[in-house]
Symmetry: C2
Amino acid sequence: MTSAAQLTQAQDRFIAVWGQMAGAWGVSRTMAEVHALLYITGEPLCTDDVMERLQISRGNASMSLRALLDWAIIERAHKRGDRKEYFHAEQDVWTLFRAIVRQRITREVDPLLASLYEIRDMTAIDRKRARSDNEDLRERIDIHNQRLESMLEFFQTLEQLAAMFISPAGKGLQAAATLLSKSPREEAAP
Amino acid sequence: MTSAAQLTQAQDRFIAVWGQMAGAWGVSRTMAEVHALLYITGEPLCTDDVMERLQISRGNASMSLRALLDWAIIERAHKRGDRKEYFHAEQDVWTLFRAIVRQRITREVDPLLASLYEIRDMTAIDRKRARSDNEDLRERIDIHNQRLESMLEFFQTLEQLAAMFISPAGKGLQAAATLLSKSPREEAAP
DNA sequence: AGAATCTTTCAATCCTTTCTGAAACTACCC
DNA sequence: GGGTAGTTTCAGAAAGGATTGAAAGATTCT
């Protein structure tokens, strides 16, 4: 077996593994595979390259590439004297994950927070209305409001942290994280 | 409309919203809804309560409750003089999310890291085999190895950070996070 | 031991998401 | 303008997950 074949095999394995992770970061398997392919080869590929290597239809390849563009984790590229569009993946892992976090905050946390605010408004007035002969109801309202408030607080914090990570200042966090994790047991060294 | 009805409505809305988030943290919609119900009411409920309130089958309720137990975000409870099992949700949001992070690290990141190590082993020897008349192949192998290494490093860091968050020491991180996010612009106050 | 009560399992069904492939569309060239 | 190369769209097909419900399995009580 040539090394070339072995390389292809390793790439395929990486693509498969990345594809399985797809669910974990909220995209379809194919989309993750396309990204894996572009990332691991490191070179710009066109739609046909992707179709052939992953054995998927043109429509699927086109949709996945467009979705990846939307997520801003791949970008268009062109070769001189070639009309085709090529695509190449963001090569820095931290930049990649910053983009993913940015997307997921916008798509998931922001709407969630909006809904939580709405729900808070729904019961903000309830407590007053609960007549004093109904202690039980009053207590349930209090519990509800308190749970809702905790949840809101948590996601606000989460969003703030994410904002820090995403912003240019995020590089600082990134550096700190790397440092922290590299010497987790050496803090007390002389 | 009574406040009681309004409370129920607000709870239903919360349950629905939480259910939509299900995908985001890797569980089924129903499982998220069951958790939302237990969390927002704050009181222990039995299987039949859940079935009735969410209009789901016994099997589904049973499975979802068991899964939530596996995730360690709800626990069994019993009422004296009642044979039924009741369930109540972890009430502290930070503890809840620590449990979720713990699960997802074990289920997703650990296996991923294991696979990445395997893949690294697959090509660790390749470079030597690439004959010197094949510069192109050699370069592709180098790129591959470098990408793989970056990915590995990133997930190692991620796992370390998660470990800190999860551990008892995580409370420190939590406090820091809350502080950070509460006064992101007041750092320089006297 | 048997009855009563509650829980779990799993094959069949339903539903949602993803994928395909061919047609429509766009941009460029002669 | 007509032809060609490349890209996007979308209705229908397929795959993958989630849900049901009824039967089997536990557990506790008398």
